[in-house]
Amino acid sequence: MSVLTNNLDLFLRAFGQTLQLFAVSAVLSLVLGTLLAALRVSPVPVFRGIGTGYVTVLRNTPLTLVFVFFVFAYPLLEILKISEYTAALVALSLYTAAFVCEVVRSGINTVPVGQAEASRALGLTFTQMLGNVVLPQALRSVVPPMTSTMIALLKNTTVASGFAVFQAGNIREALADQGDDVLFGLIWVAIGFIILVLPLTYVQQVFEKRWSVAR
C-alpha cells in the first residue's frame, strides 16, 4: 500500500495521461472506423477498395510498428512536425479504427436487407439510408465487441512507453529509479487498469439494455 500512497502523485499523473490518450483516440477511432465501414459497404467500388485496403494494412501491422512509423519514420517525410504525444494519438487512432471498422461492418451485416430496400424505395440517398436507418440499428448489435475493442485500446496505450510518451506504462521505470518496490508497484498498475476498464463494462451493460429493441 505504501508504494501507492508514497507515489500517489506519480500514479495519478500517469493514469491521467493514459485516460487522456484513451479518450482522444477512442473518439477519433470511433469516428474514423465508422466512416471506413461506410466506405466498405458503399456501392462505389473505389470506396470499397479504399476501405478494404486500409483495414488490410492497419489491422495486419503490429501496433508497435505503427508507433515506430509515426515517431521515427514520419518526421523524415518533413510534412508537418508532430510531437511524440500527437504521434502516439495518431498511431492508436489509425490502428484502432481498422478494428472499429470491422466491428461496425459486422453490425451493418446484421441489419436485414429489407431495411435498406425500404429506405431506397422511399427515395433516401445512400448516406441518408446509412445514417438514419442502417447504422443506428447496426450500432445496437455491436456493443459487446465494440467494448472489447475499446478495452484493447485502453491497454494498448501502454505501448507509448517505448516512445517517450509518459503514461501508466512508465510507472515501473519511475518506481525502479527511486528504488521503490517494483513488484507491488506493478500490482497497483494492474489494479488501476481494472478500475479503468470497469466503467467501460458498465457502459456496455447500460447500452445493451437501453438498445435492446425487439425486431
Binding site: 425500404a118 431506397r120 433516401l124 425486431r215
Partner: protein, 250 residues
C-alpha cells in the same frame, strides 16, 4: 386519350432480366395508365415480384426500357432517389424501420427527402395513420404491432411521400389469414380514390373486386392481359386455365 398527350404512369417495354443463367423476365411489355389498378397474378417463380421490383429499380434490368410517368429510370444515384420518392412501395415483409416508432417511420422520408418541417410531417403522418386505422398505435415500435397493423403502417409510410403510383409486392402473403382483409380494405380504399396501383398478389378476391386489369405471368412472360371478368371466367391460355384450376378448386 392519346398516348402522346398523357404518357402511361408505368411503361415497361421489352424488358429482359437474368439471375445468372435463369431468364426471369422475358421480353416483358406492360403499360399502366394513370389511375388504373393492375393486379399481377401467376404461380410462384413466374417473375411477378421481380417485375414489380424492377419498376423502381430495386432490381436492375439487363435490357429493355422502363419509364415512370414518361421518364426513363435513371442509373443509381440522386436522380434515381428522386424518382423513387414518387413511387410508393409496399413489401411482403413490411420492412418498417425497427428502431423507430410507427409515426417516426411515416415521418422519416418526408422530413429527410422532401425537407418537410417535422411538425407538419407529424401532422400528415397522424392523418395517414388515422386513414389506415392505426392512429392509436403511433407511438409504438413495429415489433409491438400485429402483422396487419404493420403492413397498414407501411402503406401509410409509402403514402406520406404523396406518390404518383404505388407498387405492392405480395402485401398480404406474410400475414395471418385473419389480418389479410384489413390490409386489402385499405388497398381497396386507395384504388377507389384513384391511386395508380400495380399489385402483385395471390388474393383473387381483391383482383376481382378492385382491379381494372389482370396480368397473368408464367415463366417470366406476360401470358394474359385482360379484365378481371374475362380472366376469371374465360382465360385464354392453357397456363392460366391450369393456374386458376389449381387455386379456385379449394
Amino acid at each position: 386519350m392519346t398516348a402522346a398527350s398523357t404518357p402511361p404512369m408505368i411503361r415497361v417495354a421489352g424488358v429482359d432480366k437474368f439471375f445468372g443463367p435463369l431468364h426471369v423476365l422475358k421480353n416483358v411489355q406492360l403499360e399502366v395508365p394513370k389511375g388504373q389498378v393492375v393486379v399481377v397474378l401467376g404461380p410462384s417463380g413466374s417473375g411477378k415480384s421481380t417485375l414489380c421490383r424492377t419498376i423502381n429499380r430495386l432490381e436492375p434490368i439487363d435490357s429493355g426500357l422502363i419509364e415512370v410517368d414518361g421518364q426513363p429510370l435513371p442509373a443509381e444515384g440522386k436522380e434515381l432517389a428522386r424518382l423513387r420518392a414518387d413511387v410508393g412501395m409496399v413489401f411482403q415483409s413490411f420492412n418498417l424501420f425497427a428502431h423507430k416508432t410507427i409515426v417516426e417511420n411515416v415521418m422519416l422520408a418526408p422530413v429527410k427527402v422532401r425537407r418537410t418541417p417535422a411538425a407538419e410531417a407529424r401532422k400528415t403522418a397522424m392523418e395517414l395513420l388515422e386513414r389506415v386505422g392505426i392512429a392509436n398505435q403511433a407511438e409504438k415500435f413495429p415489433a409491438q404491432l400485429s402483422g396487419g397493423q404493420q403492413q397498414r403502417a407501411a402503406i401509410a409510410r409509402a403514402l406520406a411521400m404523396k406518390p404518383k403510383v404505388m407498387l405492392f409486392d405480395e402485401p398480404t402473403s406474410a400475414l395471418d389469414p385473419e389480418m389479410v382483409q384489413e390490409v386489402l380494405d385499405v388497398m381497396t380504399g386507395l384504388a377507389k380514390d384513384g391511386m395508380t396501383m400495380l399489385v402483385v398478389t395471390h388474393e383473387m378476391g381483391f383482383a376481382r373486386k378492385a382491379a381494372d386489369r389482370v396480368i397473368f405471368m408464367s415463366d417470366g412472360e406476360v401470358v394474359e392481359d385482360s379484365t378481371p371478368e374475362e380472366f376469371f371466367s374465360a382465360p385464354k391460355s392453357n397456363r392460366a386455365k391450369d393456374f386458376l384450376g389449381k387455386i379456385l378448386t379449394h
